[in-house]
Symmetry: none
Subunit: 203 residues, 4 copies
């Protein structure tokens, strides 16, 4: 029992540090946030931060990983029992991300901010999401609803980039567009960019 309390306290301390790190990294960026500040915000000693995460970068990785996993989990739910219709799937995918961003403003902003950084813990999670999109594109192509002349890996990457980029821009100042406009825009691009059609449509 006692041991259990100790475990709980340790976990609680860890949680406090993760939250403090998230807040400060988001506010000021990783480089401008210093270790004492984080510890102080978490109301623990600096040493405790190093005890739990090894170094400041270790804390960043964990913060990032935590957020990325949360988002990943959400997005994956859409694919567990996916709507057959690509447009609906595209919309569900986009809506889930927007939903997540609205519920977890800080985590979301932070993730978007660091998603493009090299060597961040996010990269691998991002890759997984892209892979998932790729699979759904492939199945769409097989089913004949998506154009065959497309490279699913590239299309998936392009789409993820578009989502991330537009959302990062939007979330920095949500007054720039309504939630619905954002969802619409992204959905249209996705759905139609993949849909079968011929070039002569444009001439």
């Amino acid at each position: 029992m006692k041991q259990n309390t100790r475990q709980q306290n340790k976990a609680e301390t860890r949680r406090l540090l993760l939250r403090a790190g998230l807040d400060l990294f988001l506010e000021q960026g990783f480089e401008k946030t210093n270790a004492v500040e984080i510890a102080s915000k978490a109301e623990v000693a600096v040493g405790t931060l190093y005890l739990h995460f090894g170094d400041k970068a270790g804390l960043l990785q964990e913060v990032l990983l935590q957020g990325a996993l949360d988002l990943h989990e959400r997005v994956m739910k859409v694919y567990i029992d996916p709507p057959g219709d690509p447009y609906t799937l595209a919309r569900a995918h986009v809506e889930t991300i927007v939903q997540f961003l609205e519920e977890n403003q800080k985590e979301g902003r932070f993730l978007l901010e660091y998603a493009s950084r090299r060597d961040s813990a996010i990269t691998s999670v991002l890759d997984k999401i892209v892979k998932q999109i790729e699979l759904s594109v492939e199945s769409g192509v097989k089913m004949g609803v998506y154009r065959a002349d497309i490279n699913p890996a590239l299309a998936a990457r392009a789409e993820a980039s578009m989502n991330l980029g537009l959302l990062a821009w939007w979330i920095q100042d949500p007054g720039r567009a309504t939630r619905e406009e954002i969802i619409e825009t992204l959905t249209k691009f996705r759905a139609s960019g993949l849909h079968s059609q011929t070039k002569h449509d444009y001439t």
Copy 2:
């Protein structure tokens, strides 16, 4: 004459510093690169860096600005006498960027790396490019070749994000796809994402 030589030397020194800064920022990132290192690589004294750029951030701004302006100039050329057909325009836009990246690998990689940073000098240049895309979208809508139910500002931003994101990913390891595949993918998304079509197409 002597004056002229001095001018030339000054410009040359500036060029050396910009190049050294670009190389090191790209290799190690801005924060991990220090002023003495840059000066040393440029084979001048640290003081000289401060003479030319005020401070380290000043050098970064100039490096970024230089690259962004070069890219911007290139992209703008496409819009001076644009092809009427949206698909061709989209392709020309994308091709120009890819071309630039291949000719200026380092500058390109660096720009893409910093494009998503808040407060970077690049942001304003990026905004200009986005604005240009927005105008072309608007004109496409007016001409009736683009769907009317689209927010040109958002579409432009979405497209720019997609370009940047996919290209950043590609340029980190060009073996991931051929140049042509990249151009194709981006062009298709752009052209079709904007083209008139109705939702029932997908049902």
Copy 3:
């Protein structure tokens, strides 16, 4: 019985800590070895180290003292019933030390390493050994087998230094000389350095 077991466990824990301390101090030096590391190597909690030895320095003292006492005990045995002949005594003294070093490589190396440190617990033990040598020198002088024009205290100190220094050097890389060569060298210096002889011998 249970009490007995507890006693045994306590003694065992102490032994584990002493050994872990010895190993790590020898490998990395006292300053670069930290308490958690020692405890971890001994497979006990840090607190336990403090329970047994008060502080890190306390452990060092005990490690040193233990080794020094072991060595002292050995050396003293030679003087309990000493051979009358100075050469044989000198040889027996030297051989005992070499023997000890070979049997307790780690302890030995450690002792030699710290013997010259100021303020180490070893100093007092070393002083005792030197005193013992001094007594034997004095008795030799009285017996007329050692030259009278010598300061026994200094001679004893000189000899102890020589022993320690050469042995420390040897033990760091035993390939440098055979065991017998070391013993021979030290014995000769001792025996003859003290033996009566007149300066004109050398002219």
Copy 4:
């Protein structure tokens, strides 16, 4: 000319740091002396220490090397035009060291203190001195004034250890013996330890 002044100032700064380091390391030991303290004593900023020596250990090495080279130079002078008689050579060698210690109390004490530390810059210089003694022993053996049954390398090492050890002990409290007693003791050991004589002398 200006450049020259700059050079001189730099050298002066270096000298100040070396002296401050020597003083403090001697007083408190390397580990207990901190960088700010050294810089402060040298009346420069901490950064300057790092500019000149890379790190704290770098300063220690230089201090040690400087002292060792000074001593080495002195000792070597004895061997440039050595007295043919071994006793006189032995005495000259010992006297030179004692002389040096008296003239450079601090450097001397410091050298002796650190001579036995592993991996100190001193080791290589000490090895050179030992090598020199070895050569003189070898030549003594060839000339027939030293016993043939001795390993010159070991004898040289033994003697150097003896010198260092006794001197280190003496210099810590010079009241323990007169200068003359020290010289006498070391000279006798050296001269007689090496001189030809047979074991049966002692039986």
